[in-house]
């Protein structure tokens, strides 16, 4: 048997930012790939939302591109945009700063 149990009291844990296995010669690359994949996934989520949104609006007869260019958010709309922008940056940069046990 080449692999066994962890020492008593220890779990084989998977944390939210588990970076415990290294795959690249330079550990910086492990983080860079994590950031890239996080970005790619978020872009995909965004594209999906945008396609859905444009579909909804088009069914209501709205001309989307022109309306988007002319849109001025009010204060609460701007706050929501800021919060989302902050969340996005955190999710992309998170892997670079996460603890590496």
């Amino acid at each position: 048997m080449t692999q066994g149990l962890p020492a008593a009291g220890r779990r084989v844990i998977v944390g939210a930012h588990a970076m415990d296995q290294k795959f690249f010669n330079d550990p910086a690359l492990d983080r860079l790939v994590a950031t890239t994949i996080a970005l790619a996934a978020e872009v995909r989520v965004l594209r999906d939302r945008q396609q859905a949104l444009e579909g909804v609006l088009a069914r209501q007869g709205l001309v989307v591109p022109a309306d988007i260019e002319g849109w001025q958010p009010d204060a609460s709309e701007q706050a929501a945009i800021d919060a989302e922008a902050e969340r996005f940056v955190r999710s992309v940069l998170g892997p670079l700063a996460a603890d590496a046990p």
């Binding site: 048997m1 080449t2 692999q3 066994g4 149990l5 962890p6 220890r10 779990r11 084989v12 844990i13 998977v14 944390g15 939210a16 588990a18 296995q21 795959f23 690249f24 010669n25 690359l29 492990d30 790939v33 994590a34 994949i37 790619a40 996934a41 995909r44 989520v45 999906d48 939302r49 859905a52 999710s91």
Partner: protein, 361 residues
Amino acid sequence: MRSLSPDRATLAYQDFLRRAKGRWARDLYRAVAADFAAARDRAGPDALADADAAEAVLSATSARYQYFGWLERHLQRLKYASPRGILAAVDAERPALAAELAAAREAGVARGELRLAPGFTPPRYFSAVDFHQHPGGVAGDPLAGVAYDFGRQTTMPAHLDPDEVHRRFTAAVPAGDCRRILDIGCGTGRSTLPFAARFPSAVLYGIDVAAPCLVRAFQRSDAAGVRVEWSQQAAEQTDFPDGHFDLVHSTFLLHEVPRPALAAITREVHRILAPGGRFVSLDFHSPPGGVFGAFIHYGHARRNNEVFMRSFCETDFLGLQRDAGFHEAVMLPFDDGSGTWAADEAPPHWRFPAQLFVATK
């Protein structure tokens, strides 16, 4: 039975992971196969004599294997543990899901279909490991069965229907008269229920160490209108009488237990089977593709926290079954929907090396 209904963003995120895994299973796997062949041509056949030697060479020299490894570990981790992962989706619906499970648990116990063992302590090899990177495992949270169920939709390579494997396994089990059938390590009952249609006159039983999975299994059988006797027990030592079953089966259990537990389970199954009864298992063993196949499979085990997967492969399970008293034990090729391969033939895409084990008492 309520299943998880994540928001659109989470579904898009999970869909992205599933598709990425699909490309991984084909494009990156083939790239690694090409790098493996090139390394062997360069260094001579003796240099890649076994899986560990291949691991040492490829992990140091093949950028494509490095990406392959990263993606295998982290796509699975993100599936469960990211902000758009399954556990976050479970948390978002926790009150409603928990209420429904509590009601199901009560109904199952009241009807005598669900036997839970208060104070039951699962084996340490089970509770110490987050198998397949499910944080907390399948017993760590009352909603762990719901999470596992949702995750199972994308466990098999992306081009395969996850439930097809259970239909195919059930169909591959030798026909015959069965009064009682037991599924050991039944999980959320996906592997148990297909037996109702194949053996309509048999009474079905399912055991597992994880109560959250058993409650979910009861929900599943209840929704399907099938009666199953679910109980919380370890397969090493059950409370069934000698010779109670005509058929005992397991799906994806054996690779999750260490060797002493494997031997104990095999002996226990032999005890509770009637003479002539069968022990039929679907599990991962003897990866096709020679050194390359073993290198890929043992790497999967390491990257996915499958800590006993390799030891199971390195165990002569047929010999162990004969030692336990089975007079016949065979391993047969199993087609999970993607085909079958000879021992020395590497599949053209990543797959679990599922094999069918049939032993007769």
